[in-house]
C-alpha cells in the first residue's frame, strides 16, 4: 500500500483550513460542551440513533476528527480517544478546547488513508463526516481494519448514497437523480468551493467492509425529527428533504 499523500488530502486540508477559520474554530468550544452525543447536520441524539457500543473503557480512534468534539464527548463517557486529522488548523482548535475544558487526549496529524498508529490497538474506529467522506474508502477501510482489535467495531456517518445521487455540482439537493450510481466513488466539489469527497453504493460498502474482515451490523438511515433545522454551515440538504429521505447514514460493522 502506497503511503503517498493523495491529491484529495491537500485539497481537503485547504478547504478545512478555510472552513475552520469561518465556522469551526468559533463553534468548537460550544460543541465540546454539549451534554448529549448527537449525529450529523441535524444533531439527531445518539439516544435515538443507537449506533455506538458501550463506551466506557474503550480505546477509540476518530478518523477525521476536525476540532475533535466527538472525541471529547466519548472521553466524558469513559472512553480513551485518539483524534486524527490532516488539518493542522483544526487540531489547533482542538488543542485550545482541551486547555479550556481540561479534557485531554492524544491528537495526531494524519489522514485516514495512512494513519501513523499501531495495528490492533483500538476497540472502536469512529468517523462522523471525517475520513468516512473525505478519505478514499478503498484505503481508509483497510486502515480501520488494521487499527482494530478482533471484535472491535467501525462506526461511521456519511452522506447517504441517495443524497449523493441527488446532489448537483452546486446548490442544494434535488428530488431527482443527477448522476448515475454505477461507478460511484469520487466526488470533486471544487467548483462549489468545496473539497474532494468519496461515497459508495450500499452494495459496494458491504462488499468492501466484508473484504476487509468486517461483519455488517447496521445501516442506520438517520431520520431527523419533524421540527429539525440543519446546522447553518451545512444547509445543502434542507430538513424538508431529510425528513422524507435519509440525507445521512451510519454504518456499523464488527471486525471478525
Amino acid at each position: 500500500m502506497s503511503s503517498a499523500e493523495p491529491e484529495s488530502v491537500a485539497v481537503n486540508r485547504e478547504v478545512w483550513t478555510r472552513s475552520n477559520e469561518k465556522w469551526g474554530d468559533a463553534a468548537a468550544l460550544a460543541a465540546w460542551q454539549e451534554a448529549e452525543i448527537t449525529w450529523g447536520n441535524f444533531r439527531v441524539p445518539e439516544s435515538r440513533v443507537r449506533a455506538l457500543p458501550e463506551l466506557d473503557g474503550l480505546d477509540v480512534v476518530e478518523l477525521g476528527c476536525g476540532v475533535a468534539y466527538f472525541s471529547a464527548w466519548l472521553a466524558r463517557r469513559g472512553a480513551r480517544p485518539t483524534g486524527v486529522d490532516p488539518t493542522p488548523a483544526q487540531l489547533e482548535s482542538a488543542r485550545r478546547c482541551q486547555r479550556e475544558t481540561g479534557i485531554e487526549f492524544p491528537l495526531v496529524e494524519g489522514y485516514g488513508e495512512h494513519v501513523p498508529l499501531p495495528d490492533a490497538s483500538f476497540d472502536l474506529v469512529l468517523s462522523e463526516y471525517g475520513a468516512s467522506i473525505w478519505a478514499d474508502p478503498y484505503r481508509w477501510v483497510p486502515e480501520a481494519a488494521r487499527l482494530l482489535r478482533p471484535g472491535g467495531q467501525v462506526v461511521f456517518l456519511c452522506n447517504s448514497t441517495l443524497s449523493l445521487l441527488c446532489m448537483p455540482e452546486t446548490g442544494p439537493v434535488k428530488d431527482h437523480f443527477v448522476r448515475p450510481q454505477f461507478g460511484m466513488h469520487r466526488f470533486d466539489w471544487r467548483s462549489d468551493a468545496d473539497g474532494i469527497a468519496f461515497g459508495l453504493s450500499h452494495g459496494e460498502w458491504i462488499r468492501l467492509l466484508r473484504e476487509h474482515g468486517f461483519e455488517i451490523l447496521k445501516l442506520i438511515e438517520v431520520e431527523p425529527p419533524a421540527d429539525a433545522v440543519a446546522v447553518e454551515a451545512y444547509d445543502y440538504v434542507p430538513a424538508a428533504w431529510a425528513t422524507r429521505w435519509p440525507s445521512e447514514e451510519i454504518w456499523t460493522a464488527r471486525k471478525r
Partner: protein, 252 residues
C-alpha cells in the same frame, strides 16, 4: 394470515393467464440460470454457488422455472407458491419435461414445511416482493439449517422510490418517501408489494439470525432488452442505476 395474500393470488392468477403460463415453456427450457427481467446470467452475478446436493426451498416460485434450473444442477428443490393457477402451469411443465419436484400451495408468510430442513432458501421476485418481509424472513430462518443461505432478488430500492403510479416511462424523480417504506398498493393492479429500505432489510435479516453476505446491485449487460410484460424501468435506466437487487445472507 396477511391480507395481501388473497390480493396477490388474484394478481398472479390474472398475470398467469395473460403472460406467465404462455412463457413457462420457454423459461423451463432455458439452459442458463439468469436473474430478473433483464436475464442477467448467474455466471456474472455469482450468488448461488454450487447447488449440487442442496435441499432448496423456493418461496413464491410462480411457474417454478427457477426450481427446474436447480434440479438440472443436482439440487432438490421444493417450490412454494400461493397461486393455484401458477402451480397448475408448473405441474404441466413437470409432465412435459420430466423434471419433477414437490410443489406446495402456500404463501411465503406461512410455509407448511418442517423447520431446519433446507440448505438454501431462494426467491426471485417471489416472496421477496409479494410477501410481508416481517413474516417471510422469519419463515426463511425457520426453514433453513444452521449455515444455510438465503438468496433473494427484488426491485431495487432506487427503482421503487422512482417508479411512477401511472403507466408512464419511469424516470429518476423520487415519487415516494423512503422513511416508512413497507407496503405498496398500486392503483392499477390488485396486487400488494412489499419493499424495505436497505437499512431495514439489514435490521430484519440480522434480527432473525442472518449474517449479511452481499447486496448485488444488478446492472444489465449492454445487449439487454427492455422488459416486455412487466411495468418496470427500461434498460437504459437500469444501466445507470440498479433496477433490481439481490441479497445474500447466511443463517448463523
Amino acid at each position: 394470515m396477511t391480507d395481501s395474500v388473497a390480493a396477490n393470488v388474484e394478481q398472479w392468477t390474472q398475470t398467469n393467464a395473460e403472460f406467465t403460463d404462455a412463457a413457462a415453456e420457454r423459461a423451463w427450457s432455458r439452459s442458463e440460470i439468469t436473474w430478473g427481467v433483464f436475464k442477467i446470467p448467474e455466471s456474472v452475478v455469482g450468488a448461488l454457488g454450487d447447488v449440487n446436493g442442496l435441499d432448496v426451498v423456493e418461496l413464491g416460485c410462480g411457474t417454478a422455472f427457477f426450481s427446474s434450473w436447480l434440479v438440472r444442477r443436482g439440487a432438490r428443490p421444493v417450490a412454494v407458491d400461493p397461486t393455484p393457477a401458477q402451480l397448475a402451469t408448473a405441474r404441466r411443465m413437470q409432465e412435459e419435461s420430466g423434471i419433477v419436484f414437490p410443489l406446495v400451495e402456500a404463501p411465503g408468510e406461512a410455509v407448511p414445511l418442517p423447520a431446519a430442513s433446507f440448505d438454501l432458501a431462494l426467491s426471485d421476485y417471489g416472496a421477496s416482493l409479494w410477501a410481508d418481509p416481517y413474516a417471510w424472513i422469519p419463515e426463511a430462518a425457520r426453514l433453513l439449517r444452521p449455515g444455510g443461505r438465503l438468496v433473494f432478488l427484488t426491485n431495487s430500492q432506487l427503482a421503487h422510490l422512482t417508479l411512477p403510479e401511472e403507466d408512464v416511462t419511469p424516470g429518476s424523480t423520487l415519487q415516494r418517501e423512503l422513511f416508512g417504506m413497507w407496503r405498496t398498493k398500486w392503483p392499477t393492479y390488485p396486487g400488494i408489494e412489499y419493499h424495505l429500505s436497505h437499512g431495514e432489510w439489514i435490521r430484519v435479516l440480522r434480527e432473525h439470525g442472518f449474517t449479511i453476505e452481499a447486496l448485488h446491485e444488478l446492472r444489465p449487460g449492454e445487449d439487454a432488452v427492455d422488459p416486455t410484460y412487466y411495468y418496470a424501468h427500461p434498460v437504459e435506466w437500469a444501466r445507470r442505476w440498479p433496477a433490481e437487487e439481490l441479497w445474500e445472507a447466511r443463517l448463523r
